[in-house]
Structures are given as C-alpha cells and as structure tokens.
Symmetry: C2
C-alpha cells in the first residue's frame, strides 16, 4: 500500500481526538497544511497557538473545497448537520472520514447526507478516548499502540479506505476492519456500558446525604472505577443515544448479572460468590496478559 501524503487536511472539531490526529500526522510528515473548523473561537485559537492546525476556517463550506481529507471529529450528535453542510462542497476526490464512537448511526447519516459521495466516505473509530477533552489535551502520541477500527461499506472505494488506513498507521495505531453493527455491539460492552455504570455510581455517591464523608474515604479502587465518569457529558449523551439498542441489551444483561450477585450475597452463599469472583478475576487477568 502506498503511504498516503496529504496537501490539506481539514479537521472539524479540534479537540483531543481531532487535534491529536493532526499533530501525529504532522509529526510523521504526512500532511502539509491542517485547517481547523469548530464551534468555539476560543478553542480554535488555542489549536492555532499550540500548532495543532495551521489555519482556521470560518465554516466547513470555506474549508472543504480544497481538502484531500476531511476528518469529522466533533461530538457525534453534530455529525448529520456537518455532513449536510459538507455534501455540496465536495469534489469527487475528497475523502471524508470520522472518529465517532458509534458507527451504525454515522453510516446511516452518511447514506442520507453524503449519498452522492458515499464511496469516498470511510467510517472510522480510534479507540483512544480519555476523560480529558479539548484541544489542550491533544498529543502526537495519543494513538501510538492504540486500535483504530474502520467499518467500510460495500460501496466504499478501496483506495479511500487504504488512504485512511495509512494515515492512522502513520499515527502509530493498529488498524482493524469490522462491520458497523459488530463494532457497535463490541463497543457497547467494553466502553459504553462501563461509562454508564461509572456515571451511575458517581451520581449515586455524589447525590447521597453523606456524599462528603463518602468522597473523603474513597480509595484508589473507587477512583479507578469512577475515573471515566469525568468524561464529557455531551459526548456520552450522544453515544448512549446513538447506540441505544446494543447498550440497552447490555444494561439488561448487566442488571441480571448484578441480581445474581445480589442474591448470592443475600443468601449468604459464600461458595458461589467466591466462584463468581474467581471467574471474574481470571477474565481480568487474561486482559492484562493480552495488553
């Protein structure tokens, strides 16, 4: 595969994800010029000052016509609107890709809003979320050793797919391909459900009459479990709603599991409880071995 090299990359939403992509490609010498587009002037100014982007554009309509690649890295709730703005500005050459945490909804939006251009759209998801967000958190190293999932469509142009793959590999990521619905089911289990559980725990404890005491005695375990509850509320609202079906199925499965554990505690069935905990520990240890 030829190494992709871009004259102009347009990044829509210059936060942690988009900003780090830009920085990594610059560091790898794969892009001449990065143009940032975003909602808040302040964040764009920071992106300019920090060298994440070389220019900022007033709007997508101004920036898109000269782009080799447009990365949509704004919260996924804005994707439809952005694609609708983008569609009339595209020439046949521009590749559009995204960084959304859910893929079926993004693909559906692309079919609606980028219909004429669907072959040049490459749905992607870099699995590198952090509880920090914004341009200030961006780093050229964010994607090193991380996994990026591409969910190409039957009509996706293989050359466009290869270009996007090559760019993510230049960021140090390992690229894999999956079907959009499979991606969404897997991510519901290993990312969306854990976020929901952490938000719920943190909210329960934070709203409690004894919240001050609870927070005072919270140890490293509590801090680990709730770390991702500091993630962006807007982003996670969008993800939960976008992947509603797969997420609800898993929430229900989790509640059934928790009911089972609860019953073992209530019945004082220490043997079965220890067995369940040991099975969980074994699975967790497998995770560390694979890391």
């Amino acid at each position: 595969m030829r190494e992709a090299r871009l004259k102009t990359l347009v990044v829509v939403g210059v936060g942690l994800i988009g900003g780090s992509f830009a920085l990594a490609l610059k560091a790898a010498g794969r892009v001449d010029r990065v143009v940032g587009v975003g909602r808040t002037r302040e964040n764009l100014q920071h992106a300019l000052d920090a060298g994440l982007v070389d220019e900022v554009a007033e709007s997508l309509a101004c920036a898109a016509p000269g782009a080799d690649v447009v990365l949509l890295a704004a919260p996924v709730g804005q994707t439809g609107r952005l694609m609708a703005q983008l569609a009339p500005c595209l020439n046949g050459r521009t590749i559009v890709t995204d960084a959304g945490s859910t893929k079926q909804d993004v693909v559906a939006m692309a079919r609606t809003f980028l219909s004429m251009h669907i072959a040049r759209f490459v749905p992607a998801h870099p699995i590198a979320g952090m509880e920090r967000s914004g341009a200030a958190a961006a780093t050229a190293e964010l994607y090193r050793g991380r996994t990026v999932v591409l969910t190409p469509l039957p009509e996706t142009d293989p050359a466009a797919r290869d270009t996007v793959r090559s760019l993510w590999e230049a960021c140090g990521a390992q690229v894999v391909e999956m079907a959009p619905d499979h991606h969404d089911r897997v991510l519901a289990a290993v990312s969306h459900l854990p976020h929901l559980l952490a938000f719920a725990l943190m909210d329960l404890v934070g709203r409690h009459a004894e919240a001050e005491t609870f927070l005072r005695f919270a140890g490293s375990g509590f801090r680990d479990v709730t770390r991702i509850a500091a993630s962006s509320p807007e982003m996670w609202r969008d993800i939960c709603l976008a992947n509603r079906e797969a997420l609800l199925a898993l929430v229900d499965a989790y509640c059934a599991e928790l009911d089972e554990v609860r019953d073992l505690v209530a019945q004082g069935d220490g043997e079965a409880l220890a067995r369940l905990f040991a099975r969980a520990r074994q699975a967790r240890q497998r995770l560390d071995q694979e890391a």
Copy 2:
C-alpha cells in the same frame, strides 16, 4: 501522645496488609522483632526471606504470649477462629488489633471471643487495599498518605487505642475514628459496592460468547473500571458477607439509579441524560480536587 515502641509484634497473615505494616514499623524503628503466623509455609518463608518478619511461629498459641501487639491481618472470614485461639494466650498487657475491611462483624466476634480482653482490642481498618495480594506485594510505603480508620468501643482502653494510633501514624497514615456501623456504611459505598460492580462487569464480559473480541477491544476505560475485579475472591467473599446489610441496601440504590439511567436512554431523553452525566462528572472532579 507517647510514641509507641514495641519489643515484639505478632502479625497473623503476612500478606500485603500485614507485611507492609511490619515493614513500615521496622523502617520507622518502632519494633524490635516481628513474628509471623500464617496458614501457608511457602508464604511465611517468603516473608522471612524478604525481611518482612524476623521469625515465624508454628501457631498463634506459641507466638502470642510474648507479644506487645498482635495484628490480625488474615482474611476476615478467619477472624473468629483466630480470636478463639488467641484468647487463652493473652496476658492483660497485650494489645490486639486487626486490619479488616468491615468492623461491625469484627467487633461482634471480639465481644464473643475476646470478651475478657475486650478493653485491649482496637478495631482498625487501613484503607489501602490493592488488587495485588500476598507477601510479595508488601512495601514499607503502602500506608504513606493513606487513611486508617479506628473504631474504638466504649470499653476500649484509651492507652491501647493511642498505641495503635501511634503505630499507624508511624507508617505514614492519617488516622481517624468512627463508629463501627458508620464505618461499614461508608465503606459499603466507596469500596464494597464498587468491587461488586467491577466483579459483575468483568464476569459478564468474560462469560460472553464474544469474550475474546470484547477483551481485544477493551480500552483504558474498561481497564480502569475492572481493575479491582482482579482482587482476592476469598477476601471479597468475606467482606460482602460480613457487610451484607449495608451492601445490599446500596446495591438496591444502585439498581434504582441504573434503572433511571436506562429509562432516560430508552426514552431518548438526551437532555436529562446529559444533566445526570454532568452532575456525576462534577462529583468526580470534586474527588480529584480533594485528593
């Protein structure tokens, strides 16, 4: 308060908790001789080799008579049996303390088995659990900056309490006092519930038909949330059963909270969902500010 200095400390259960206590007191020059008692010869040998203890004793009955302080640091499920063994060997001078993660059950056992000696028993809980366990994980620095809760009884000898406090402070810990039932309710919220949630999540994912794929795509968020699911199954079985009442109340409160979140997702109520997430994030950020 006078700085406590011991001729002989007996540690029952020379794992992470007991071994680190011994190491820290040795480093602080607060103990001349540490005697280890335990179930497995192999672990005791390691404790000897690593200098956590100076001697090992065949049994509690052999070790206890010469002790200034006996620390019970075995899994809490063994506490009753150990106290029953210990009671006949105690003189009026020996202080007994423990390191159990639950306090009401330990206090009840002490009233039963150490009845004649209850004034010299100081219930304690160092909040410094880690997912690692065993003598090999022990370190003199484990308690530095950590919180240790004492839950003295109305009949506790103030001098015994002060000695135990002084020893923990020598380990670098901050010592606070609480009532046993209050301790158990607080720890149920910030430690026992999170462990149960993490075990349940890890078991759900590990038992799933797609477990291999799930584990492959698990990112840092999933790793954080499930880290404590690698904790000792035996220890956590004991804790869950010992603190059953407070824990079940919190599991129920958590299920109600999760139901609420689930309904918001199912109804597509993005506004309320973002509000709940933002409230959780705020509470989590408060936790970091207090750290």
